[in-house]
Symmetry: C2
Subunit: 197 residues, 2 copies
């Protein structure tokens, strides 16, 4: 049955992404005992240095306390550095150490290398179509979730900031993705204007 087949393949795909692309490739790229979450944190900082602890917590969908403890660990491993912000001395800014930069790069390189033969099995048109359908499915799910009465904003965190581009339709439906909001705050000169989604 089509419906069951789609559900099964969706589950298997989701598990494959998490277990192989996210967990296993990370384990291969580094012998450090990092969880997927901790590596996300690293990637977030590598995308945009000078995040504050609270911003990181929001992008990861966890409490400040959890973010702080994860940062303790990454700092202990020599991957990131805390600096007190000059402008607001309560705030702690995060930067990536060379060791952290190298780890992120090693992971990205390994993933690209491992995925390359996989993607070679697909037509470019198939890749395009898969991308489109994945995006459409996610967007439609949230569109209808939003119409069942629940508050959509802040009720889900897909931890998508790690991969997010500024014009992400799923993020838009989710009620202004936090990445966009923070990006706008960090780069006021080219904030995403509303309605551009």
């Amino acid at each position: 049955m089509d419906y069951n087949r789609l559900l099964r393949n969706s589950h298997i795909f989701a598990s494959t992404v998490r277990e192989v692309l996210e967990r296993h490739f990370l384990e291969e790229a580094s012998s450090l005992p990092l969880t997927i979450s901790q590596f996300y944190l690293l990637k977030l900082i590598s995308n945009n240095e000078l995040y504050q602890v609270g911003e990181i917590a929001e992008l990861m969908g966890v409490s400040n306390a959890a973010a702080s403890k994860n940062i303790d660990k990454l700092e202990g491993l020599g991957l990131v550095t805390r600096t007190t912000s000059e402008g607001d001395r309560r705030a702690t800014l995060l930067t990536l150490n060379p060791k952290g930069k190298r780890l992120v790069q090693t992971y990205e390189d390994l993933k690209a290398e491992r995925l390359s033969p996989v993607l070679d099995q697909f037509d470019p048109a198939e890749i395009e179509e898969l991308s489109r359908l994945l995006e459409k499915f996610s967007a439609e799910v949230f569109r209808f979730e939003g119409s069942t009465g629940d508050e959509l904003e802040n009720s889900y965190c897909l931890r998508c900031a790690v991969y997010l581009e500024r014009d992400c339709p799923v993020g838009d439906i989710l009620g202004g993705c936090p990445y966009n909001t923070l990006y706008a705050a960090h780069h006021p000169e080219h904030a995403v204007t509303e309605g551009s989604g």
Copy 2:
């Protein structure tokens, strides 16, 4: 860039499946404090009663101890019942109570209802194509993982038994999916013969 777009959409899709279809729909279907894993356990039993504790542990990719503790919890909630096997008095067989059956059914109904308007946004041909591409991607990832020297069998658990059909190409590549193996043990009369893909 195509590659990044595919990675981003894959991550978002994977998170959507996990956070919405698996976690949120479950929370909506029941106020019981069940984790996704504990609900999988319930679904496994609902697919095939009389599993043993160790079989459940293998299908879920966790230790016997963890499976046993999860069963404690489900038993405490009145969802499943342990029975000592007649044939082998060391073994504990698991059956679903009416309350457990109802919970699984409520979740399935709710998921079908919520997904129906989502799927209406797609052509049947698009659904078909999405299913095919999801399956192909997962299968190709594991095919190449298998060729990098690591032992494939037992190194990943996608917890796919919950959704698995008997002829799953991903399971085959993973080195004989545990579901098939156990299915054959439980139903020797129509075991999947090797080479049947």
